[in-house]
Symmetry: C2
Subunit: 568 residues, 2 copies
């Protein structure tokens, strides 16, 4: 493709509307344009990237035995009423009426439609398992669409739905999809993590999120340095500490006037913050409870709410604490509580020896308390945020790190959640009717394009992973309009590379070299070749990989050998 | 692909909802399923056909220099208000409100959105011409969606829009698109006609429709036997007759009591219906006018309305005729009209000699009237429907035939209709701002699938043109579950054909041969190979082309040679 014939409206200035780097660079590079809030047009360059992602997704889905279908964007309300989501789904579900005043919605997801198809077409366990997918336009009416493709209202998703006669079959397909997703993100050249999103107590159903790692990610992803373990920080666990074997010291009450923080307390008492036990009064659905954490740990409200089986959880204020227990803030402790409250301790608190707590008297703290000897062991639970350096809960050797992640995929064992409500039943081997089990598997195809940029850019523009690049190679022909020999050499090279199956973008525009280089860097092709009268005279090409810091003058044979090795 | 692993829910019965043969066969063959009125899900087999059509469309668009983009389905009302179509477009435009109560619509077409893109991104004539296209989901809220894919509410369209600095450039791109459309329909193996849809007096802008010829088509297409001329019957012309050289006979008035029809009149007077002149009283926007046609011709109301520059045109009733002229129905004539009315005659009437008309007296007709001698020549115009056998208006030798057609494509020179309203302006060579010219070019991608079936079926099912077939070859393995050798031979053949790039559908199901044959005929693959223990023993394959009437027992070498010749 020649730049002179390609619709590539690049921008010099960063558009004010764009906060995220991917949004800025995709606008500046002429990949996308905004039509209205959360609605984007894919320009030719951007569509090429999108199609490459779609291509990899399709190949891996087919390889895993999924079959492609295409369902309508517009869905009848009746199905959503059957599943109960017409009422449950918030205003993100864009509802509309047709000319006959019948209710419809724009599909944000297709569980209802696929379940309707399945209940009409599947009669027997012999037709199972079945895994159907589509690559399709979806709509979610975000309240504040932001960040370009990252949180658009209209977007492109690959969604797959599988149907099974039993849990073993569901598990097998779930694993196939999990593996397919790993293959997809690996082939796309993205650094990613499959994150355990096991909802544990709530459903017991398996679920994993796939996150592209990038500093701008909305989610904190905890991951092991040695094994595959990764989890959302909200859910991440770590290996509990071993019991300490320190000799027990005699407990003593100390005057600690004016102390407000764990750090003050540790300093005044000459201990480490890890030996301080924080006592946090919380209201779990209005029920007061005392939570205990190590001084150097942070409360994880989501874990705590789940442990206490509470819909809402909040910290008590100083006033509420004084009112309920008569103790000033900062001097609470589990020993001799003025009122009988449930107490739950983080598991790391229960292995402490010689710890310090508030004494439930203003200006007084305990030092060298020990469980059993000085106070009873409370209920233990995992209440804390894991921290960098914690031991991995899965493997023996790894320690945990924390990265930011952008969710680009989600696999989920739905069980009978939709098939029960919509009546997706088949005859089983015994000839009896049985509700089928379902799995669902989503990939944010258009979001991947943005996530890839968040992970792959520098101060000059995008650095596309090879598989996603809109073209494989860019050729900059210097002053091509004035030098027919330069243009001819560039065209010959383009033809040679295209014959090898490479996609080439030839900048033959009548622009200054600086403008040409800036464009090429901005749009982020993996390889750049420059030809000018000077290099032509030497019979050499100036080559630079997009992430290289220097140019290399090389022969045509070397050019072909470098680009030969390029994976397609 | 193996049938045992492919989601192919075929139906034995014809669904009651389906009137058209394409709708019936696409449902029965497991290509599509209905979700709701006018909304269809593409099943795996149907999607394969759709993708093949899309593939050919994309290749020819790219070859013609168009660049692919992807615009949103959901469009802001503001743009439609700017173009004036928010009010003009009827209820087929599905309007909706987002959560912030802002108005949007589901795009039935994208002139507004592309014009908005162009006015933001194009600054100079140097960026023109530009031709952008997309393959995308569209929505038209049909009042009575019918005929399956033929008139669905949600459908897939290829729409292209071109931008130009002048009419020459528009004309050149229009011709490229016209040629690309011919290539597309030719490659798809469809019998089609490019139909002149020149709106003549109304706009003077060039426009062609592309129709797939099929008996079930909604449009009557007039076409020449010798040249490329084709037109919608509403607009079709024919070569006027030459003046007759018959000797003039003396006019006489004859008593013709009780005569009601042209046929009666001709019989009683001993002349041919071609010598009868019908006099039709019409109201053109409430203005009475007398139209004259030959007895064997039919009035074309659309042509007549255009000639009379009328928005509405209707025939007068017997009562109105008697009231206005005092003449009973059937005895009207242009000679000595009782009231002064404008008279317009079809051009074929004006070359008649010795014709017969009503005498404006009940029970009386004129015989052997002649223009000038007996009555003045009225205004001449083209008022009639062309008929089979008429002379072609374009070439010297051809005669006209009439076929039914399904519109699958439309190319149109829009001129400045949208660019003026939306302000798509560029600087021209003289540095002055100028409104650009636009063309638009649509193809009903999903409709093509239905139209192809309407043109290619028999009593057993679909006969796909090779380029559109979901698979190239079907292999029926007889009793494969019971004969491992048959299955192994079928699989080996599949592997050999796939290695040649052919797409193979292997029916390895545990079904009776009759069911296997019926399925294969229904889904309409171009080539069928059957293998059984019997043919295997002879080392032969039973081959049948989908349109063949007989099987052929052939060797593997012959199989490979037949399928070798298959265009991909």
């Amino acid at each position: 493709m020649r730049a002179s014939q390609f619709f590539l409206p690049t921008l010099k200035e960063t558009p004010a509307e764009a906060e995220l780097i991917s949004h800025q660079l995709l606008l500046r590079g002429g990949f996308i344009r905004r039509l209205a809030s959360g609605l984007y047009t894919w320009l030719p360059l951007g569509l090429r990237v999108l199609r490459k992602v779609e291509g990899v997704v399709r190949e891996e889905m087919e390889r895993a035995g999924a079959q492609e279908v295409l369902m309508p964007v517009v869905q009848p309300a009746e199905l959503w009423q059957e599943s109960g989501r017409w009422e449950l789904y918030g205003p993100e579900l864009l509802r509309l009426k047709d000319r006959h005043q019948r209710d419809f919605c724009l599909g944000p997801t297709h569980e209802e439609v696929i379940s309707d198809l399945a209940r009409r077409e599947i009669r027997s366990y012999r037709q199972l398992p079945l895994n159907l997918y589509q690559v399709q336009t979806k709509f979610r009416d975000e309240i504040r669409p932001r960040f370009g493709l990252m949180r658009a209202r209209e977007f492109i998703m690959k969604d797959a739905y599988s149907f099974h006669i039993d849990q073993d079959s569901l598990r097998a397909t779930y694993q196939e999809m999990y593996d397919a997703y790993r293959n997809i993100f690996t082939r796309l050249g993205l650094e990613f993590r499959a994150v355990d999103a096991d909802t544990g107590a709530i459903g017991g159903k398996a679920s994993h999120e796939f996150h592209v790692l990038a500093d701008s990610g909305e989610d904190a992803i905890v991951h092991c340095s040695a094994c595959d373990y990764a989890a959302n920080q909200e859910l991440a666990r770590s290996r509990p500490l071993l019991d300490s074997s320190d000799p027990l010291l005699p407990a003593e009450q100390r005057a600690t006037p004016g102390i407000r923080t764990v750090e003050d307390q540790a300093k005044v008492l000459g201990i480490s913050p890890a030996q301080v036990v924080k006592s946090l009064l919380v209201f779990a659905d209005d029920k007061p409870t005392l939570l205990l954490l190590r001084g150097d740990d942070e409360l994880n409200l989501i874990k705590a709410a789940r442990v206490l089986d509470a819909d809402t959880l909040r910290l008590a204020s100083a006033e509420e604490t004084r009112e309920l227990l008569g103790v000033p803030f900062g001097f609470l402790g589990p020993k001799d509580l003025p009122a009988p409250l449930p107490i739950v301790a983080d598991q790391r608190v229960l292995v402490l020896r010689n710890f310090s707590t508030g004494a439930n008297i203003g200006g007084q703290h305990w030092l060298h308390l020990n469980w059993e000897r000085d106070l009873p062991r409370p209920q233990a639970a995992d209440l804390r945020n894991v921290q960098v350096g914690d031991a991995c809960p899965h493997c023996a050797t790894g320690s945990l790190g924390i990265r930011r992640g952008i969710e680009v995929g989600h696999v989920f064992q739905l069980g009978t959640r939709y098939s029960e409500k919509l009546g997706v039943r088949v005859l089983n081997e015994a000839g009896k009717e049985q509700v089928v089990l379902m799995g669902c598997y989503g990939i944010g195809v258009s979001r991947i394009v943005a996530a890839a940029v968040e992970q792959n850019f520098d101060e000059r523009g995008i650095c596309w992973p090879a598989t996603m690049a809109p073209f494989d190679v860019g050729i900059v022909a210097i002053q091509a309009k004035k030098s027919p020999t330069v243009l001819a050499a560039a065209e010959a090279m383009m033809a040679r590379l295209e014959a090898k199956g490479l996609q080439v973008f030839l900048d033959d525009r009548d622009e200054r070299p600086g403008v040409q280089f800036a464009t090429m860097d901005l749009i982020g092709l993996p390889h750049r070749l420059v030809i000018s009268e000077k290099t032509l005279a030497q019979n050499l090409w100036e080559y630079r990989g997009r992430r290289d810091s220097e140019n290399h003058l090389i022969s045509e044979a070397e050019v072909l050998s470098i680009l030969q090795g390029e994976p397609r």
